[in-house]
Structures are given as C-alpha cells and as structure tokens.
Symmetry: C2
Subunit: 195 residues, 2 copies
C-alpha cells in the first residue's frame, strides 16, 4: 500500500482537523524512520492509519472489543484507549491491511507495549510530538527525538503516567508495562555506555 | 499473641531507630483501628511485625524469595519490596504467626494490593504517616487519615507512583494495581454519595 492510498482510506473517517493531525504524524514518522533506519513507506502508512477508528461511535468501538479477541479489560478503562486496538482490526477487515508490523503500530500507538519495535516507537512518538501538539513538556521530547527515539518514547510513557496521576485516573496496565520496559532499556543502555 | 510479645520478637531484629519507628507504627495503627472498627490488638500485632525482615541481609531475602512460592519478579525490582513478602513468611516459620490477616498486612505493607482489608490499609497507612515521617505531602495524608482510611490509602498509592516517576524507577505491578483499585473505590464512593 502506498502512503497516498492509506491517506485516501483514512480521510473519509476523520474530521478535517484530525486528518490534518494525521498528515503531520505521517511527516513526522517519515523523518523519524529516516533517522532510525526504518522503512519510510511502512512508517508513513502506519502513521496514516493510526487514528483510523478514532471517530467511530463509542458503541461501535465497544461492539468490536466485545465481539473479537481484543482484551475485555479495555472496556473498564477510558475509551480513549479503544480506537488503537479496534483500528488495528478494522484496517484489516475493511481494507485488507494485514501487515503485522503496521497493525502493531496502530494497535499500540496510545498505550505503547513492552518490546516495541522501532516502527511501533515511531508511530507512538510521532503521534505525541507532531508540530500541532502543544502539551507542557512536548518540546523537550521533540528535541530528544531528533537523536534518541528510545529516550523520547520513554519520556512519553512517563509523561502519560504523570498525566493520569494528575487527573486522578487509573493507569492501564499496558501503559505501565511500557514505562517499565523503556525505563529498564534506557538504564541498561546507560550502564552499557559507561563500561 | 499479645502486642508486647510481638514487640519482643521484633526488637532483636531491628536497629534502635527502626524499632522506635515500629513502636510509632503500632501506636498509629491502634488509633486507626479504633477509628475504623478493626480489632485493635490484631492491628497492633500486625504493625509490630511489619518490618520483621527489614534488616535481614539482602542475600537472605533473595534466598527466601528464590526458595519459596513468593513471586520471582520481586527479584527484578528494588530490594525495598522484598522485606514485606519475606517477613510474612518468616513470622510464620520462625514464630508460628499464621494468622492470614496479619500475614497479609505484613506482606503488602509496602506495595499494597487490590482489595485490601481494613487491617491491610491500617498497616499500609500507619507505616507511611507515623509521626516520625517527614515526606513532602505526608501531613495532608495524616489529616485525611483521621476521617477517611480509604482516601488516605489512595493518596499514599498515588504518592508512591509519583515518587517512582520522579526517581525514574520502574513501578512494581502490584503498586499500580493498588492505585487503580483504590482510585476506582474512591470514585465509586463519590458517585454513590452524590446520588
């Protein structure tokens, strides 16, 4: 699948504003792919499709989680977490996108997961730092992402847990496992570099 | 077992400073037990025994985790997490304390767990707020504990995750499950009270 094809698939699914966000995520993902030795086209297609299910009605997202192999505990957490896993299924069932690397990047772009591939990290990071984002702290992560994809992903996972604590919200286990995994990897790399 | 007997068991295991801490936790636990309809003697005994294994050498704690049914993932996390679970075993094997309520309170006094009993919460909270503690934010939790044990426990679980994020340390899963469980319970109670 070409990037333009992916964008054409996704455009009718999204508001103008979210489609503009998606286009910025695609551009950001292409930059990070180039910097990190990842297939640019694959990264761009995954980025294009990451919010495919974002504007489906909640009842439809709930239906797909209920009537699929997706983990049911998603339903007891914030619905913001639903569109990634459902999107990974819908790009396959509605458009035949069965590439597991792309499906994984779409599935985990909100929570992350332990042992993310570089492609997973590129979509996770690009969604967070694309130029339209203006969270407190995002510029630091943007700066780090220019030279260190792993550390940028780790900063995002920590930022996400901090955000949930501030909101007094529960933490989805996958979000914490992601933070723990990235914390360990950043520490191990630091130790390896200091030997 | 009487409180004095528990204190006599524990005194030779601890430095003077930590034994003084233990005595303050016992007093705090008695106050919270009285306020929350929990057997004062049981709370005092559990509080007396909570740090029973705290000053065992790390190699001994590691040995007990390795050669028991305790979860092995403890060994991949900070050793501060080891003395509760090992202590719960040692008070049984070395002193015949097999009361599951007391063992649970000792086991989980550092991490908490989902669905803590009131006794579990009393030891978890007392350890954190006894008058010798001077963490930032501890006075707020002390104030809340006077009328609301559940909310005090929830504040501690949130504080603990915040502390780990600030240290850039991993979060033991049980610590996060505790926070999630208490967050849900505090929210559900608030909703029930507003109906």
């Amino acid at each position: 699948m070409e990037v333009n094809e992916a964008l054409n698939i996704v455009q009718p699914q999204l508001t103008k504003e979210r489609f503009a966000h998606t286009e910025r995520v695609v551009e950001q993902a292409q930059i990070l792919a180039d910097q990190n030795g990842v297939d640019q086209k694959k990264a761009a297609v995954a980025a294009a499709l990451h919010d495919y299910a974002k504007e489906r009605p909640l009842r439809e997202l709930r239906y797909w989680i209920t009537h699929s192999t997706l983990p049911k505990d998603l339903l007891t957490f914030h619905h913001e977490l639903w569109h990634g896993p459902v999107g990974a299924q819908l790009i396959s069932s509605e458009h035949g996108v069965t590439c597991p690397d792309i499906q994984s990047a779409v599935y985990y772009h909100t929570t992350g997961k332990p042992h993310m591939s570089r492609l997973d990290m590129i979509v996770y990071v690009s969604d967070f730092i694309e130029p339209g984002r203006a969270f407190p702290g995002v510029q630091d992560i943007r700066d780090v992402s220019r030279t260190d994809l792993l550390k940028a992903a780790w900063m995002i996972s920590s930022h996400t847990i901090q955000y949930l604590l501030n909101k007094q919200s529960r933490i989805y286990p996958e979000t914490m496992y992601t933070y723990n995994d990235l914390t360990l990897k950043v520490q191990q790399r630091k130790q390896a570099n200091s030997i």
